[in-house]
């Protein structure tokens, strides 16, 4: 039996994001649509729709035409969501710009993305964005015509209700969003997503979670990442579930307060966020009884964390999503009716209308069930391509439409999938393949260990060797030799980390993913110093 599975048959709707929000407001006119707690914003779906149309009109008043690009460079806020849907109604492409970007990265994005207007804040507690923009524009040619500061007269003028909106014929296959891949693996590439891509992924995600207009989704993840702006906002609009933004950036206390005070029924996060919440001083005093479901995604989910979220955080129907920016993003997802054991041991089954197969990385042959291979996806969720990079697109999407994820997985006979690692993270030590995910999962079984990250570093003898970075539970201390001994006694000797470092935190991208390449660099530096 081969590692090929297809999700359930389902209607792929040819809707634009504008159609979707119109439909939502029509079905749930007085339903709570958008809450931005740190801004004091509370809107019904009708009010939200009105703001979306005004934003679209405002963009048209700037002379923007279908196919033109705008960037939004901001932490979470109501305006981000207006721009997401407003741009879509005007046929303008939204480019998500990582709020953590500084001048070096911003220069690159401004140059390659060809955005005409950048929507941003002048400054906040993290940075002076105006200054960063000025630095990034020095000595470079780009198509930027202007920057509009959110929460300024310039922004207010854009939302003038007197500005007319000119409805347009927009095709569901048109690109609506460009998202740059995360910084965990290398040079960012702009994945172009169509209305069809993101509307249908949002719909399928909402259906798997059984979201309805009675649900309230607490979204602490950044909107600039597809976790926030597809799994979050689009799944919400597709179902009528309320969008609750607890804060501008991830704030554990604000998230716990939002869950309780908004009676959230769903909570999203990367594993690091859930770990922070579970260990926060306010955790014990928070009422989680309203929670039913949610999504844990973005990086491999430790089994022990998942079990605590189900029990201690009262999220019995937490789901696991797997995917990538290039697939809108979710291609594999568990269902709320799956057992805890299933949700702990797999990332679920293919999404509707989506095919998944695992292939041998050298030959391209489909692997037998139970054997590891590279996960490939095909269907309506696969991106249009990489912006301005047909070569990279060709390397990623085969002529017959299979997108190669670069992730390794094993398929079970029931079509469910377990992610076993990322091909690029694989360590080759003395000719043996070692998968960091496996070593990390083992290290997490140590009672003192809160979190574990494993990387490979160059080694003159082995080619590469294994290094672990551990975060210990509060109040715990440990010795390197203690951890090595624990490994030696329980796993194959070639997987035992040559070195163990204890750290307080990991270098993370703005979306919460661990930057393994930085850990690798740190390990090499420490060894050189030693």
């Amino acid at each position: 039996m081969l590692s090929y599975a297809r999700g359930p048959e389902a209607e792929v709707r040819d809707l634009t994001l504008g159609d979707l929000v119109r439909e939502c407001a029509s079905k749930h006119p007085q339903g709570l649509g958008l809450v931005s707690r740190h801004q004091g914003v509370r809107l019904t779906w009708t009010e939200f729709h009105d703001n979306v149309v005004r934003t679209g009109a405002g963009l048209q008043s700037l002379g923007l035409k279908p196919g033109d690009r705008i960037g939004v460079w901001s932490t979470n806020c109501a305006e981000w969501v207006y721009l997401q849907f407003g741009a879509a109604t005007a046929g303008v492409i939204l480019v998500n710009v990582n709020p953590a970007y500084r001048s070096h990265e911003l220069s690159y994005v401004l140059r390659v993305s060809r955005i005409k207007y950048l929507f941003m804040r002048e400054s906040d507690s993290h940075a002076n964005y105006r200054k960063i923009l000025e630095e990034s524009l020095q000595g470079q040619d780009c198509e930027l015509e202007g920057a509009i500061y959110l929460n300024s007269p310039g922004w207010d003028a854009l939302l003038d209700p007197q500005l007319p909106f000119h409805p347009l014929a927009i095709d569901a296959g048109d690109v609506t969003n460009i998202q740059y891949t995360s910084g965990t693996t290398g040079t960012p590439k702009g994945a172009m997503l169509s209305h069809r891509n993101v509307v249908n992924d949002g719909r399928f995600i909402a259906e798997r979670m059984r979201l309805t207009g009675a649900d309230r989704i607490c979204i602490p993840v950044p909107l600039y990442h597809c976790f926030g702006c597809v799994i979050g906002t689009i799944a919400a609009v597709a179902s009528g579930a309320s969008i609750v933004l607890p804060a501008a950036t991830f704030d554990v206390g604000a998230t716990l307060a939002a869950i309780q005070e908004e009676s959230a029924t769903a909570i999203y996060g990367v594993p690091a966020m859930f770990i922070a919440e579970l260990n926060h001083p306010s955790f014990a005093g928070t009422d989680f009884s309203s929670l039913r479901t949610g999504v844990m995604a973005g990086s491999p989910c430790p089994i022990e964390v998942m079990k605590r979220v189900v029990k201690a955080m009262h999220v019995p129907e937490i789901t696991i999503c797997y995917g990538q920016t290039e697939t809108s993003p979710v291609t594999v997802m568990s269902d709320v009716s799956d057992s805890v054991e299933f949700r702990c041991s797999t990332v679920g089954r293919p999404m509707p209308a989506t095919e998944i197969q695992l292939v041998d990385m050298s030959s391209g042959e489909v692997m037998p069930v139970g054997e590891q291979g590279e996960l490939c996806a095909r269907g309506p969720l696969v991106m249009v391509g990489y912006d301005g990079d047909p070569e990279a697109t060709k390397k990623t999407i085969s002529p017959d439409g299979w997108l190669h994820s670069g992730d390794l997985a094993v398929m079970r006979e029931d079509g469910s999938l377990r992610i076993t690692g990322r091909a690029k993270d694989m360590i080759i030590r003395g000719g043996e393949n070692i998968y960091p995910a496996e070593v990390e999962a083992f290290l997490l079984t140590h009672p003192k260990v809160l979190d574990a990250q494993v990387v490979g570093i160059p080694c003159d003898y082995y080619g590469e060797d294994v290094v672990a970075f551990l975060r210990l539970k509060q109040g715990q201390s440990a010795e390197v030799i203690e951890m090595k001994r624990y490994c030696r006694e329980n796993i194959a000797i070639n997987k035992v980390p040559a070195m163990v470092y204890f750290v307080e935190q990991y270098p993370l991208t703005a979306s919460g993913k661990v930057q393994k390449f930085k850990l690798r660099e740190l390990a090499v530096r420490k060894l050189a110093e030693a």
Binding site: R429, G430, G431, E432, I457, C459, D460, Y461, Y462, D465, V467, V480, I481, K484, R485, R488, I493, N494, V496, A498, M499, L527, A530
Partner: protein, 86 residues
């Protein structure tokens, strides 16, 4: 621990991990790889060195275990450093 004791202990470690090896072949200057110490055996030898002598080896230190003589030098230096820190 003096040099002679270190050498004796290291010999015992090597013989434990390569029981089929004839002891007389383990001379101070012979390269351990030529004695059949493969990468797996090396991993075990490193582990034993750490546990026996009580210091943590850095990955790059593997190159110090090329021969028995260089291994003795290395361990003597590490023990000396450990005692100094204590």
């Amino acid at each position: 621990m003096d040099r002679a004791q270190i050498e004796k202990t290291l010999r015992e470690i090597i013989m434990k991990r390569l029981p089929a090896l004839k002891p007389e072949l383990v001379t101070p200057e012979v390269e351990l790889v030529k004695l059949g110490v493969d990468s797996l055996a090396f991993s075990w030898i490193l582990a034993d060195v750490e546990e026996t002598f009580g210091f943590v080896m850095q990955g790059a230190d593997i190159m110090n275990l090329k021969t028995l003589a260089s291994a003795v030098d290395y361990v003597q230096k590490q023990i000396g450093a450990t005692q100094t820190r204590a």
